[in-house]
């Protein structure tokens, strides 16, 4: 009898555990307000404006004819934007829930856009919220918009499903500009306390082209606040030293109106630190494979001697780029966007511990040696320019 009671209890207990908890924390997909993109702006009265793009699942879109035929009207125009203001992001976020009929769901927010005003004011407080909240994706991309973030959210780029998608894809294609919340948090809290975030500008309306977001360059963040923006040319200069070289084309102009262009295939750069007699030095070893994609010069680049010449020319060209941005970083901004601090810390942890407070003084004095090696692998499918018989 006792044994039987025990058996019943053993059965009843797990069942009770299951049923009494109910559907703890469960929520149906249809009770979620799915946020796909988030924008944060600083308003004129110093309030934080949180704008979210919510994917709209309107019943009229549900395919009535079953699963087989997918109606053609899906794509854009199915999102709404809601904005709330608050003293802090947490306050704004809780207000957001009040104006929505469905539960705010951050799990699919793939893009965070900070307005330029907010970025200049400082991102530290906002980032604290974003990294503390478990529901927010660490792999969401961050951008800084030159206009307000809300304006970017309002765009509906025609090719991609949403503006969030469009921005992500663009950032991903331009390697190195892909900055996630996690990356940003690491850069901002790292030893150099400097970060770079891709910036977004809106291309204004053309005749038949809708306004359109585009990645325009980089924002330089120092101690959590944006201090400057750089254009695309300088962006490349920064990326060379950050080991995030784009698959891009370099064009030289050896003589007026004569071009030779190479396509970079893959590359690698390495920073080698050394501290000798308190002289802080970085050797940047850059190695890249390239192939010729255009040659309208008088030279035939299937001749090895000419290739050697091209190599040095290319290296000079790249070095110029690098040195230009390096000067900006060391002299104008005095901000370690290359994360030299980490490189030194790894090689000389004791020296670093002694001198980390002086890093702002040391960084502008760091000497950077460039060892650029661009290997031209192939002259392309044709050797000589077959339309230019005079090449030699």
């Amino acid at each position: 009898m006792l044994k039987r009671m025990k058996g019943v209890a053993l059965l009843a207990l797990p069942l009770a555990m299951l049923i009494l908890t109910g559907c703890w924390d469960s929520i149906e997909v249809n009770d979620l307000a799915i946020i796909t993109a988030t924008g944060l702006d600083l308003t004129e009265d110093q309030q934080l404006e949180l704008s979210v793009k919510i994917y709209l699942i309107s019943p009229s879109d549900v395919d009535q004819s079953g699963s087989m035929s997918e109606s053609g009207n899906n794509g854009n125009g199915k999102s709404v934007i809601r904005s709330v203001r608050g003293k802090s992001i947490a306050q704004a976020a809780s207000k957001l829930q009040q104006i929505l009929t469905r539960q705010v769901f951050w799990g699919q927010a793939e893009v965070f856009i900070f307005g330029a005003e907010l970025a200049k004011h400082g991102l530290n407080d906002v980032m604290d919220y974003l990294t503390r909240q478990p529901t927010i994706r660490e792999r969401a991309n961050v951008f800084i918009s030159e206009t307000t973030a809300k304006e970017v959210l309002e765009l509906n780029p025609p090719i991609e499903r949403s503006v969030a998608d469009a921005l992500r894809e663009m950032a991903r294609l331009q390697t190195g500009l892909d900055t996630t919340v996690l990356d940003l948090a690491q850069m901002m809290s790292g030893r150099s306390r400097a970060a770079i975030i891709p910036t977004v500008e809106i291309l204004s309306e053309d005749d038949d082209q809708e306004p359109f977001p585009q990645i325009s360059g980089l924002a330089i963040i120092k101690n959590g606040a944006m201090i400057d923006q750089v254009d695309e040319v300088n962006t490349t200069g920064i990326m060379w030293l950050r080991n995030k070289i784009k698959q891009t084309a370099l064009t030289l102009e050896p003589a007026p109106d004569q071009h030779v262009s190479v396509q970079l295939l893959r590359g690698h750069s390495e920073l080698i630190p050394s501290i000798v007699n308190d002289r802080w030095e970085i050797t940047a070893r850059i190695e890249t494979l390239a192939e010729i994609i255009e040659n309208t010069t008088d030279r035939d680049y299937s001749i090895p001697d000419h290739i050697a010449q091209l190599k040095t020319d290319l290296a000079d060209h790249v070095n110029q780029h690098i040195i230009h941005t390096l000067e900006l970083a060391q002299q104008t901004w005095k901000v370690d966007i290359y994360q030299f601090a980490d490189v030194f810390y790894r090689a000389y942890p004791k020296v670093w511990a002694r001198s980390k407070d002086r890093w702002e003084e040391i960084f502008p004095e760091v000497e950077v040696k460039l060892e650029t090696n661009i290997i031209v692998r192939r002259p392309g499918m044709t050797g000589k320019n077959i339309f230019k018989p005079g090449q030699r």
Binding site: M1, R4, V8, S26, V29, I34, T36, V62, G66, G107
Partner: protein, 529 residues
């Protein structure tokens, strides 16, 4: 609670009473028969047998005179005996008056039948008559004779429909025990193939054949099997599942602990691995023990295809085994608890398709799965012609219309369909059923607790599998406990030339299966010369 336990105890007690009742009947029956040695008076014997076979219109008592001197009686059951043969080989020689002296040895010599057995008691006579052998009783003789001339209508040997293969033998077991043992004997011709028989069932008197290869199967295993079989006291055995339920290690487990097959080649392959094959008269499906869970996921074709294909298909099967267990529960868990885990475009599509569905995902899943099971069962029970109609109605009308009517979402229909197909991939039907049953608690767990629930469920199932044994062999072996040597037939289907040792059931007896190093290779030495 008290009423429940009272009910339970009543039920159990009534069962006990019934079994006491049964043994009493059996005892009486046996006593009566054992006392009854055949007497030398024909009249007395016939009287007894007629009393026993009262109201049995199919039992024929044919009275005749041997060589015009000796009165005799031939008793047989109509339909179980080959009457033509009896007429030609038993009655004809006896009724001729050529016999010098009608005594038993002479009679025995006269009859041109290969299988003649003496019958000593009424009990013997009944056993013989029941199996279809005609029994001859003679006046003034204390012995009767039975002739092995039984014959009854039986199905011809066909390919088993439940276990069809593309390659491999196409014969299957049938309902007749003797045909089945013959099929096995043809595959394994060694005299070491032992076929022991016992009869169980108070009323059905069913013969069970215990088949094993002496020298490979462990004697302890055979003893254990005999012990368990002898323990059975039951009124009738109509199918081998009766036996299975009475001898398995854990009667409460959902997982089958004996393998059932209708294929002689499968049975023979297990015999070679040291397993015991149980054949039950009247049942075309034989039972094999001991087995592991991996045996249930193997198909004979794994071995009849080349090993690359065998291994690949085996892995596909493992994958779909997991899908058939977890498919709908993963979907429910992700949809109600872990929406951040789905890629955004997929989530948006799912959300859109679910927008007008009135039920939560859990209810939707339970609804569809129940519907699917009902369709499957209906399809299986109906005659073939109507069965196809059911499947068309099920697939097209229910599936498609349910989506358009907004009762279920299309991703759910897809998940259910994939899970259904996955469960049919299990090569043994009974393990597919097990998984389909387990799917429902898993769905509930997923609906209540999300991934946490699924993990809890998996832990419980794994725990059960790890404690389960089939005739002493751990169910999860050779993975747990690990026996590296045996993994060659679990993780992959190793090439034939690598299967040098027998697996688990052999218990280290006669482990070597073939010569090592039999991998084919070019004969270099011969080529040089």
């Amino acid at each position: 609670m008290r009423t429940v336990s009272r009910l339970l105890s009543q039920l159990l007690n009534s069962g006990r009473r019934r079994s006491e009742h049964m043994t009493r009947i059996e005892q009486q029956w046996h006593d009566q028969l054992d006392q009854a040695k055949l007497s030398d008076e024909l009249e007395l014997n016939i009287e007894r047998l007629k009393a026993i076979y009262a109201d049995c219109s199919d039992v024929i008592f044919h009275e005749f005179v041997i060589s015009e001197r000796m009165r005799a009686m031939l008793i047989y059951i109509e339909g179980l005996t080959n009457i033509e043969e009896v007429d030609r080989h038993v009655l004809a020689p006896l009724q001729r008056d050529s016999l010098q002296e009608p005594i038993l040895p002479n009679i025995r010599r006269t009859i041109p039948v290969s299988s003649i057995k003496p019958v000593e008691s009424i009990r013997d006579a009944i056993e013989e008559i029941c199996t279809g052998n005609p029994v001859l009783l003679m006046d003034k003789e204390q012995q009767g004779l039975s002739f092995g001339l039984s014959q009854w209508e039986k199905r011809s040997i066909e390919e088993p429909t439940a276990e069809s293969v593309l390659k491999g033998p196409r014969e299957g077991f049938i309902e007749s025990l003797r045909t089945n043992t013959a099929l096995l004997r043809r595959k394994v011709q060694t005299p070491n193939l032992k076929i022991r028989a016992i009869r169980t069932g108070t009323y059905s008197r069913t013969t069970i054949a215990i088949t094993y290869i002496e020298g490979i199967a462990s004697p302890a295993l055979v003893d254990e099997m005999m012990r368990r079989l002898q323990r059975i006291e039951i009124d009738g055995i109509l199918e081998s599942t009766y036996i299975e339920e009475l001898i398995e290690d854990n009667p409460y487990s959902l997982f089958p602990q004996l393998l059932s097959t209708e294929r002689p080649d499968v049975a023979a392959s297990y015999l070679l691995e040291g397993c015991i094959v149980l054949l039950v008269d009247g049942s075309p499906s034989v039972r094999i023990a001991p087995i592991t869970i991996y045996s249930l996921l193997q198909s004979p074709e794994d071995y009849y295809e080349r090993y690359f294909i065998g291994s690949a298909i085996r892995w596909l099967r493992y994958l779909f085994f997991a899908i058939s267990l977890l498919g709908p529960s993963l979907y429910v868990a992700v949809l109600t608890f872990h929406q951040e885990m789905i890629p955004t475009p997929l989530l948006l599509t799912m959300a859109r398709s679910r927008e007008q569905i009135p039920f939560p995902a859990l209810i939707e899943a339970l609804l569809m799965e129940t519907m699917f099971e009902a369709l499957r069962e209906a399809g299986a029970r109906l005659p073939k012609q109507i069965g196809s109609a059911v499947s068309i109605v099920g697939a097209l009308v229910i599936g498609q219309a349910a989506i358009s009517a907004g009762i279920v979402s299309s991703p759910m229909v897809m998940v259910v369909a994939i899970t259904g197909i996955a469960s049919f991939m299990a090569p043994r039907f009974n393990v597919g059923v097990t998984v389909r049953l387990l799917r429902f608690p898993m769905m509930l767990l997923a609906g209540f607790l999300g991934f946490l629930g699924i993990i809890l469920g998996i832990i419980v199932i794994l725990n059960h599998l790890l404690t389960l044994r089939s005739f002493g062999v751990p169910y999860m072996s050779p993975l747990a406990p690990m026996r590296g040597r045996d993994l060659k037939d679990v993780l992959i289907r190793a090439p034939r030339w690598m299967m040098n040792t027998r697996p688990h059931a052999a218990e280290n007896r006669n482990l070597r299966r073939q010569e090592p190093n039999i991998r084919p290779h070019p004969d270099i030495e011969n080529e040089r010369t």
